[in-house]
């Protein structure tokens, strides 16, 4: 169980903002978070940042598939040769 201090501090707000993204926040907790976000500009930015991070991560996940290869993201020559020996 998420322990709530009487007045939500930024650390707890960060945890709750994440939990809301992961779909595990009760109605009461949502309201508590919303109130904190109204009064705390830093946490409003953090909340937006978490949203942007999640969006970017989803893009990264689907793009890794067809995206252009960089040198670092390709099989090493050794591995490639070894695989070719194994698979024919």
């Amino acid at each position: 169980m998420l322990k709530l201090p009487k007045v939500l501090n930024c650390q707890a707000a960060a945890e709750m903002s994440c939990r809301r993204r992961d779909g595990s926040l009760s109605y009461y907790q949502r309201i508590t978070l919303a109130i904190h976000l109204i009064i705390c500009a830093g946490c409003r930015l953090m909340d937006k940042q978490f949203y942007l991070l999640d969006m970017a991560a989803k893009k990264l996940g689907s793009k890794g598939f067809s995206g252009k290869s960089q040198q670092e993201k390709a099989l090493s020559l050794e591995a490639r040769e070894k695989l070719k020996q194994l698979i024919r």
Binding site: M1, P5, N9, C10, Q11, A12, A14, E15, C18, R19, R21, D22, G23, S24, G42, C43, L45, M46, K48, Q49, F50, L52, L53, D54, M55, A56, A57, K58, K59, L60, G61, K63, G64, F65, S66, G67, S69, Q70, K73, A74, L75, S76, A79, R80, K82, L83, K84, L86, I87, R88
Partner: protein, 196 residues
């Protein structure tokens, strides 16, 4: 390579490595940190595909079929790793250190000028995000990759990583805090500033 991707025929095995090797490697590398682990996963995938190639009946693209095998191999890999881990949820002093005693930010978050619709996000923001993900502790990285990047249901992720739901939420929350910190410190380069 493009032709191989659209075709629903079974390509001859001697072109597999050249046509699909890098793609599979990249897919694994986004989710598994260690290069040699990734190469091993690609190898396991090809071997399993070779063994079971009669099962490929063109029901989907060959790439999709291969990636399906790779996904299974990766889940096995995660499970094996979890078995070797003793402490499922060690403290994270880095995250603790982001807040003062009263739970206030030590360094106030800043505004990010990133527009998710901007095309620059692909070339600049995503590679930087991957670098920041690589800097995460392994368990946080895996939780974030499976839950957020791949949008897997939390019950599935809990099973794969053998963590409780509560611990999964803690891992995700720590991962996000570290990622936003990484971005602010090293700077996921700003996508073309939008406004403000």
């Amino acid at each position: 390579m493009q032709d191989g991707e659209i075709s629903k025929d079974l390509p001859p095995a001697d072109v597999w490595v050249d046509q699909y090797g890098d793609l599979l490697f990249r897919y694994a590398r986004l989710r598994v940190m260690d290069r040699s682990d990734c190469e091993e996963l690609v190898q396991e995938t090809f071997l399993a595909a070779l063994k079971g190639k009669e099962n490929f009946k063109g029901q989907c693209e060959f790439t999709t079929w291969l990636v399906g095998i790779l996904k299974h191999k990766m889940m096995d890999h995660f499970r094996r790793q979890q078995r070797d881990q003793t402490d499922p949820l060690p403290d994270d002093s880095v995250v603790e250190g982001m807040f003062g005693r009263s739970g206030k930010w030590k360094k106030f978050p800043r505004r990010w000028h990133i527009d998710p619709q901007d095309s620059a996000i692909e070339s600049e923001v995503l590679p930087a995000l991957q670098r920041c993900m690589d800097a995460l502790p392994e368990s946080q990285r895996q939780a974030f990759a499976l839950s957020v990047m791949d949008e897997q249901k939390s019950e599935e992720v809990c099973k794969t990583l053998s963590v409780s739901a509560t611990n999964l939420y803690v891992l995700l929350h720590r991962a996000r805090l570290r990622l936003r910190d990484c971005r602010e410190k090293k700077g996921i380069p700003q996508a073309r500033a939008v406004k403000g």
